[in-house]
């Protein structure tokens, strides 16, 4: 009888499991590997060897390729996000952070270790311009019209604006000690200031800071939830996730998340997947309850991406 009950339970579990679960990509920067996890079982289904140091990743505008940047290995992997298969590799000098302009024409790469920002034609990628910047270009955001890319300069404490039309710097504005993550939000730039407990709201027109958003020591990165109802920010020193109201920019809620939360991705159910840099783990957070579980991955996990696959079975 007990065996039968166990069998039934297994069948129920199998029925509850999606035919094709979402895939979670985690870049283990110190291990030089890419973990691919089944989002349902939270088990690692595959580990792709990279070369030296993978930090950030971005989906191509057509959704066909996941670009994974290996800064130490001087290479970008083009991966099929649905399978994890490496389609091709491109030799690119020290790619740290990377993103496509909203019009899909440009791929911009920030090189933290060589103080340069590269602008590529996204179709190649073919290098169009290389700009020598002050210290440590880190993260980036674009104006919605794709005319300007804004780059945080971690070592200089500034944000630099670069025209994608002239491929020349436009201005540089001080924002605070060690700026990191940056997003465009309703005509403003929101910038994580790692050397403080605040995000700052920068007006790109006036280059003035209009307000601060306190989230916790070591304010780091910020991501809009896909449903547009919240912004989620991390602080790496105080180890927190902060839910921010996108209208008022007030902090609604703080979730203590030990391990140094860094980058964030969202699954189709709105759950948050965050890398915990100092713990060799990622966290799967339920934004409604604030509850979370952690999953062991490789060393110093940094970039993260969720590829939704549930729709693919229909």
């Amino acid at each position: 009888m007990r065996r039968l009950a166990a069998l039934l339970m297994l069948c129920l579990l199998a029925a509850a499991r999606p035919a094709a679960a979402d895939l979670v990509y985690v870049l283990n920067s110190t291990d030089a590997t890419i973990s691919i996890l089944d989002a349902f079982t939270r088990q690692e289904v595959r580990r792709i060897p990279a070369l030296r140091e993978v930090h950030h990743l971005v989906l191509s505008p057509d959704g066909r390729d996941l670009l994974i940047a290996d800064s130490g290995g001087n290479e970008i992997f083009f991966v099929d996000p649905a399978t994890g298969d490496v389609r091709r590799r491109e030799r690119i000098s020290n790619p740290y952070h990377l993103d496509f302009s909203p019009d899909g024409r440009h791929l911009v790469i920030a090189s933290l270790r060589r103080n340069q920002v590269d602008i590529y034609d996204a179709n190649g990628p073919t290098l169009l311009a290389r700009l020598r910047m002050p210290e440590k270009p880190s993260h980036m955001a674009f104006s919605p019209d794709a005319r300007v890319v804004y780059v945080t300069l971690q070592g200089s404490g500034t944000v630099a604006a670069i025209s994608l039309e002239t491929r020349q710097p436009l201005w540089e504005a001080p924002v605070g000690r060690e700026p990191a993550g940056i997003i465009w939000h309703r005509g403003r730039l929101i910038v994580g200031i790692m050397g403080s407990e605040n995000f700052v709201v920068l007006n790109p027109q006036t280059q003035q800071i209009e307000r601060t958003i306190p989230v916790g020591r070591g304010a780091h990165t910020i991501f809009p939830a896909p449903d547009g109802r919240a912004l989620w920010a991390t602080s790496r020193v105080q180890s927190r996730l902060a839910e921010i109201d996108p209208d008022t920019l007030e902090v609604r809620r703080l979730i203590e998340l030990p391990g140094g939360p860094d980058c964030i991705a969202f699954d189709p159910d709105g759950r948050i997947w965050a890398t915990l840099r100092w713990a060799g783990r990622i966290a799967r957070v339920d934004p409604r309850s604030g509850e979370f579980e952690t999953i062991r991955v490789g060393r110093s996990p940094h970039g993260i991406f969720v590829h939704p696959r549930r729709a693919e079975r229909n």
């Binding site: 030089a32 001087n74 270790r113 103080n115 070591g218 713990a279 060393r299």
Partner: protein
Amino acid sequence: MLDAFNRALDDVTGWIFEAAVQPAMYALGLMDWADDALQWIEFGLFGLFTILVVYAVCRPLEAWRPVEPVTDRGAIRTDIVYTLLTRLGLLPMVAFVLLASLQAWWAGLVADSGFVPPTLETLIPGLREMPLLAFLLYVVILDFGEYWRHRFQHMFGWWWALHSIHHAQRQMTFWTDDRNHILDEIIAALWFGTLALLIGVPPGQFPLLVLIMRLAESLSHANVRLSFGRLGERLLVSPRFHRVHHGVMSAAEHGRNYAVLFPVWDWIFGTADFRRDHYPRTGDPEAPEALATGGWLRQQVVGLRRMAGAIFRRGAA
């Protein structure tokens, strides 16, 4: 085993960083260096663990079959200072901070030239799926590079003036491995950096193997009557093999047995001495006494002065 070691190292590193180092860096306004600090903690922890493992292996061997009695504990204490400064990352970290901007400038210059430094895996694509094999191939190539760097250290007068600090030790023990002038260490880093331009830097996910290599290097300096046998002597540098290199007759340009890990290089280039019963006295009779028995700082100063003397004497000649 490799995974378990990496995880344990990672867990302890992360805990120290999160609990102590990161809050301090935040307070000091140094968050810009947070990622680097994490790596340096790991470097230091790994170094500490290496010292403990080396001690646990080499010390009993030295007590078991010493080549010579210990008569100068002061000289050994100086070698311990060298080891702690090097292995715990203090000197490398200072160099890293001082040279970070220079390194970024250099990396930018290389990128501007259009050259993208390769890795062995890009040169030999089959290695991509075999990181362990790639790592081992790096070890062999870099050891070949070390063989030639070592020969040049003995060949050029100014370089020998620095390297003779390493050879001046008359009381050689496993602690002697790190007994090097700071400038010599910087030149070694530049040498490594040049090789890295050609073949890239090795993958960093095998600290356990690095530990084994460090153990082999330290053991080769140990005060122990130990030969690896007819075949083993030709495969891995033994305490016997390396003692011949440190022998008083082997100083300066008359050297033998330059290899660091693999004796095959000495074999190929005709500098090998495989006599298995030969355990000579060590030291450099021509070196000033300060290099043998002086403290760390004194040896650094004397080393620099000797190097300057070697350069200017040559210039005047």
